[in-house]
Amino acid sequence: METITKYSVLNIQKLRQDFPILSKKVNGKPLIYLDNGATAQKPTQVIDAISNYYETQNANIHRGVHQLSIETTVTYENARVTVQKHLNAALSQEIIFTSGTTESINLLANSFGKKYIKAGDEIIISEMEHHSNILPWQILCEEKGAVLKVIPINDKGELLMDEYKKLLCDKTKMVAVTHISNTLGTINPVKEMIELAHEKNIPVLIDGAQALPHIKVDVQALDADFYCFGGHKIFAPSGVGILYGKEKWLNEMPPYKVGGGTIKTVTFEKTEYADLPLKFEAGTPNIEGGIGLAAAIDYVNEIGLENIGAYECELLEYATAKLSAIEGLRIIGTAKEKASVISFVIEEIHPLDIGTILDKLGIAVRTGHHCTQPLMQHFGIPGTIRASLVFYNTKEEIDVLVNGIEKAIKMLK
């Protein structure tokens, strides 16, 4: 328990100083940033890594014979190794740089789909997926005549595992599920889900967009075939993300987009593609993004994901209790295993109205369907108000949020 005390009481204020934007005022009020599920703020360690790159290294990678290009290539490839170690991937070439979670899933659906999916095949997703983990599979199914199957959820926002087991069959060619729901905060039992799929030799993609900032992910322990996430939610720049894939799959899969950097030899008759990971990284990548991502991972590891997890758990409990006490407020997503994401609705008040008033008070929350419209349909609501918390949020900020909501209710009712 010592670590919790250390970080929850003493060092949060110190850690907050790493994030220059947190001292900003919005609408004349101190910013209270509770929209981390959309994007997280950046510490100076990340900002400095990017500035330093532009000030001292900027060059294209894998191309030049000159010193700057060599240095930049080394830094960029070191960033790949940082990601590899963080995910505990077996090989650095299993780490593909993309522009974010969305591109990672599009890459996989396109490339894997081209090679392995045919008419009558089935792809399993879940009812709580972000649109980014629905649409690429939906399009693939439409193109190939395959069928999209959906794991339903209960009213707490937990996957119905018995239904999942029933869906897994000989026709299933891919399971693509989220690790943590961006709307509900539910942490899905992905290890168990992967085991079940593997019993039938079905590969699994885990969408880790919301997981990386909160929990330690070990792709080998999970035995995930594919795992993806974006940088911007883990305190790294936007426009960079990762697709992890087991080498055996990535080697078999065709390139998804092609161009500079992806080839060994090109003639007009035939092109021989480069080995992993370059086969999937056409064009000049977001070099500063990759470098910033490595800096963010180092930063998070310095604080320690276990410490972060313990503190966020405490924050979640506090916020859940405080918010639940507000009359007419209903929390959407009450799974047993939950990350620090709280969605809620308030009787007879539109989420957008609450969000608008909170904004006037300097409080940043997200309102709407959170790119999970099927989930909103499940709960029969137009949207929710979502407070997504990370380690730099405090109980005091939650108190301000609660007061803000009460004020908004008074104004709006």
Binding site: I357, K360, P382
Partner: protein
């Protein structure tokens, strides 16, 4: 009153609040409560203007060559702005509506609600109001 005169009236009304955002929003919410509500029978999907977050319903009808609007929204602040729009342009001719600039929204400090990123349906509603006026004008010319 002309559209410009009503716009000025609204600007003066909101000037009273100065920097008091709370007063301003309370007024807006109050206006929303007194919006000329669309008759339930017309609150149908074909009159629904879809925003990403809040929905707006709008109906127009012509009386004595003037166009009258009624509306509704599922969000009260959006409803307040719909009420302001209707107050400004309802009861005017098609030409007057087509040429309206709606500058008052900026002057009273609510322009953020007309940002396309706000996804509250208001930008589409403004377009729909002008489109209705154009259609009604074309019909009257035939």
């Amino acid at each position: 009153m002309s559209i410009a005169e009503i716009e000025n009236e609204i600007v003066e009304e909101f000037e009273l609040f100065g920097d008091d955002w709370e007063g301003k929003y309370e007024h807006l919410i109050d206006l929303g409560r007194h919006l000329p509500l669309i008759d339930k029978q017309y609150k149908t999907d074909d009159r629904l203007i879809k925003g990403c977050q809040s929905k707006v319903w709008l109906r127009s009808e012509v009386k004595d060559e003037k166009i009258f609007f009624t509306g509704d929204s599922d969000a009260i602040i959006t409803k307040g702005i719909v009420a302001l729009m209707i107050r400004v342009i309802s009861g005017h001719t098609a030409d007057e509506i087509i040429n309206a600039q709606f500058e008052f929204i900026n002057k009273i400090g609510l322009i953020e609600h007309l940002s396309p990123t706000r996804s509250n349906g208001l930008v589409s509603m403004l377009k729909q109001m002008k489109l209705d006026a154009m259609v009604l004008k074309a019909q009257s010319l035939n």
